[in-house]
């Protein structure tokens, strides 16, 4: 029936990613809920940290990535929430789709949504916090590698909690500690890119890349048992 091997996995991933993105285009949950939430948090940080006091400006890279992480949790909830309804997970198991294919497809869709969100948030932060963007190349490197890692870890844990009743409270508890090194690395890399820190920025990109590669691989391997039994 379906083509086996790598072509099969890629084809499956493309099918699933297409479905997820089409779902987002129809339901617009990311656009109408996650993005406003992220912008809201940016606003709230300004209230909490008082823009006049320079703290906000100094903390911008960290705050930015915090907002990205929180939004990512919501995005993962949404991505796997639809699979958890209506016994869709059963249908996925019955279909000929390979588990790594499903995983990579969902990760790809998450990445697209997260990158779009990060882009809009960057503009928001530049406007509202008065951040001067510089070091575009390094920023792009940091953002891309960090997003791969966030999406991969999110995709794995999303699959793990898909059938758990208390998944809304459980997912952040599981995902955020795992993403701690991503937060650290992305923030430091961003600080270097924005010229606030002297140190080399690219080693952080390297570390983020390793994180992403590791969790992409591990997630793809674990997705089959998770889809089956979790």
């Amino acid at each position: 029936m379906r083509t086996e091997g790598v072509r099969g996995v890629v084809a499956d991933a493309a099918l699933v990613a297409g479905k997820d993105l089409r779902l987002e285009r129809r339901s617009k949950v990311g656009l109408s809920q996650v993005l406003p939430f992220a912008l809201l948090v940016i606003l709230l940080f300004a209230f909490a940290l008082d823009p006049d006091r320079r703290v906000l400006g100094a903390a911008t890279p960290g705050l930015y990535w915090m907002v990205v992480l929180f939004s990512a949790v919501l995005a993962v909830q949404r991505s796997f929430g639809v699979e958890g309804e209506d016994d869709v997970l059963d249908a996925l198991r019955l279909s000929g789709l390979s588990a790594p294919g499903i995983f990579l497809g969902k990760v790809a869709a998450l990445m697209v949504q997260l990158l779009a969100l990060e882009f809009v948030l960057a503009i928001a932060v530049a406007v509202f916090y008065g951040t001067e963007i510089s070091g575009i190349l390094l920023l792009a490197g940091v953002t891309t590698t960090a997003t791969v890692g966030i999406a991969a870890a999110g995709g794995t844990y999303g699959g793990l909690v898909a059938r758990i009743r208390g998944r809304d409270t459980l997912l952040p508890l599981l995902l955020l500690p795992l993403l701690a090194p991503v937060l650290i690395s992305a923030t430091r890399g961003t600080e270097v890119a924005l010229g606030r820190d002297a140190g080399p920025g690219w080693p952080w990109v390297g570390l983020l890349g390793i994180f992403g590669a590791v969790y992409l691989t591990l997630g793809a391997l674990l997705f089959r048992p998770l889809l089956e039994d979790a």
Partner: protein
Amino acid sequence: MTTTTTQAASDRRVAPTSTSSTATRVLGISSLVGLALLVIFGVFVSPPDAELGQTIRILYMHVPTVSVAYLAFLITAVGSAMYLWKRTEFWDLLAASAAEIGVVFFGLTILNGMLWGKITWGVFWRWEPRLTTTAVLLLTYLGYLAVRAIPADPRTRATRSAAIGLLAVVNIPIVHKAVDWWRGLHQERTIFGTTKPEIQGTQAFAAYLGLAVFLLLFAWLLIHRFRVAFLAERAAESGLGAAIAERRQEASESSATAVSHSEGDR
């Protein structure tokens, strides 16, 4: 009669009344003796450090607790991988037992780190690499325990836990690297000032003794915890034969009504 693999397994096992055995008694007693020796050597006999003063004594506990915690999580990782491969209960229970103990030892590590901090820096917490890393990893493994606590059938629970066990262990070196670089940027020295305090003579002896004692303690705890978990599983599944008989009994009850009623109702 229907026989199931699980029922056969229950038939094979002997019903123990406690989780102790000769092995655990030996381990337990040697741990106690070892702890006593450690206190003597660590607190009284060995001299204070030239640089760190009396606070070096916390090293004799701090290094063992963190080492044992890492060993525990390594066991959890191995158990998780083996479970996903072999799908036998032994690996699942081993992984879970080790994780629980690991969390406890991480907690102890943070506590004695905070104690050292209070004495040396005057504050309970500083964002120095070791404490920070331990805090992150502690939260990670608390997540493992949280998932473990969710009611589910054994295979589901084991699969979820095994996945987390592997995802978490792989994160350990990455967290270390990130935190070390980060705090290193701020010239934040490790908890003991230098990365490896120079220790000699009785100090070295106390340090190694501490490690040995805590390893014994860990083994003792692990064996007991594993056995408790094993017995819990046996207790939970011991009713399977009865459950099957009861299930089939439903048939006679419902057949009696089925003869006289139509089955169109929902």
